[in-house]
Symmetry: C2
Subunit: 306 residues, 2 copies
């Protein structure tokens, strides 16, 4: 195989009580990429459609992730990448992670899988490092592995795939506002109370348990974020209203996707997720804020050939 | 049935990264109790063997837990309790919880189970409130439900039973030293760094995941406490040595049981748990500190009739 066309999924990091440790993979939201072997060594970004991003390999997350992977291989050839971006940069649903994860997943396929999928995570994390300054894993891990990924530890890196209840759907709304990464970082507090930490730990334990047992009620009861959401919500106009309306409508829970501005809701069943999408959309319509909206089953498998 | 004799198990609260949210139930360490119906209303502690504890109903945790339960029932009779304490008070393996949980479990049996076992937890928590000032659930919940109990939330109370891998054994050593509850509380810090909280959350997620999948390696990797153990360890002479020796010997992990001074280790298989017991014992022998030592399978069922 010399060429592969793939779907590189969008992802939701943080997932309320899972701040900095949990991410999930979407199924109908993502980029398309074509990766082919070339005689030229290294990585070439030959095409980038849909977003204004640098083509230069070392300035592009796909390039950097690919180079990190090639460093571990001794190849006499290289790869050319075409990226068809559908995920908007800065939307908070893992745009850079999709490109980084997609690149290394595709190269691994073309080479006959020299690496286990989990081993690809550190390469993709190098793309995240270029994009945000931090080599975080909570978007690239679910993009590669699918379903829910728990980052148990960064040192050493330890990623655990958590099972996905079959009727779990996500609704994601992206209000067309800009939240600067520097702002979403600066509102965080370096110290928190032990009490809040314990509440968050209880909820994360409940969420993981609910995912293993497909206990939607427990998932719902656990989807709270005591620590980060109250601080970051103020950066997203309409957040509280959208969240409350989604829950009133029947969503299991809702929160900030990544560092925003996208807002996600989880629901049991596609019908409910679509009803929730309608409610979330109406809320932003009433606020006169433009938005993109997506409804997606949780993608249990991650990147895939198309 | 007018009388029942029961085993009221000891428990390990906190379980490293599960500080304040997780507890587990022991199988071969615990008290015996006899509870019988009496014409006299209310709760009478008629016998208390093995510990110097008050017999007066309102000053005894079993009495207080029993009264909390009777308040919800309209009975024309009462109960008499004999307690044969084998768990030492202040050892850190749920001595008061065993008496509180045992009482309400036994009364529920004698009455033909008007309450689901989980509904008994709030009654038993009243005994804990008498004993320590705080109505905590992380000992009484596993004593009642067996296995591992997650306290997802106190407000509202939400207890989740987590499955127990079949080969999981606990070793518990109780050095004969006194750690004052006031000391073990005063060393705690009310504020922690966000970074430590995230590490703890990742580990708790890993531990819950490992328990669901019987992944002993993952359980082992997750058994860390970033927040409380480093502060409380200084109150327990020999803690670091005992812990390190247990892990060197092959234990999956080790930590402070409850607020100490008991130290627990978890192991895969009885043979390893006994090997670990030998190592832990030798460490305290070398330090000239007397100790009690227990090896127990995790008790998946909690209190039981004997």
């Amino acid at each position: 195989m010399n060429e592969i066309k793939i779907f590189a999924p969008a992802t939701i990091a943080n997932v309320s009580c899972g701040f900095d440790v949990l991410g999930l993979c979407l199924d109908t939201v993502g980029d398309e990429m074509v990766i082919r072997k070339t005689n030229k060594k290294g990585i070439t970004i030959s095409k980038l459609v849909g977003q204004d991003l640098p083509l230069e390999t070392k300035k592009n997350v796909a390039g950097v992730a690919g180079l990190a992977m090639l460093e571990k291989l001794n190849l006499d050839h290289g790869f050319e990448i075409e990226i068809y971006k559908k995920i908007k940069a800065g939307s908070g649903i893992g745009s850079s992670a999709a490109s980084s994860a997609g690149t290394v997943w595709a190269i691994n396929e073309l080479l006959g899988k020299p690496f286990a999928t989990k081993e690809l995570v550190p390469f993709a994390m190098q793309g995240e490092k270029l994009a945000s300054g931090t080599a975080h894993a909570d978007n690239v891990a679910p993009a590669l592995l699918g379903g829910f990924s728990l980052v148990r530890s960064y040192d050493p890196l330890d990623i655990i795939k958590i099972p996905t209840p079959s009727e779990l759907y996500a609704t994601v709304i992206h209000p067309q506002i800009e939240v600067k990464t520097s702002d979403s970082r600066s509102v965080l507090k370096q110290n928190i109370t032990l009490k809040k930490s314990i509440i968050q730990i209880g909820n994360l334990g409940g969420l993981i348990s609910g995912l293993y047992t497909s206990d939607y009620d427990l998932i719902s009861r656990s989807l709270h974020d005591e620590i980060v959401e109250p601080l970051r919500a103020i950066l997203i106009p309409g957040f509280n209203e959208v969240k409350q309306n989604a829950i009133k409508c029947g969503a299991l829970g809702a929160g900030i996707s990544g560092s925003g501005p996208s807002i996600f809701a989880l629901s049991k069943g596609k019908e409910m997720a679509e009803k929730v999408a309608k409610t979330m959309s109406e809320t932003y319509k009433n606020l006169n804020i433009d938005y993109d909206i997506h409804v997606s089953k949780i993608n249990a498998n991650g990147c895939r050939a198309i």
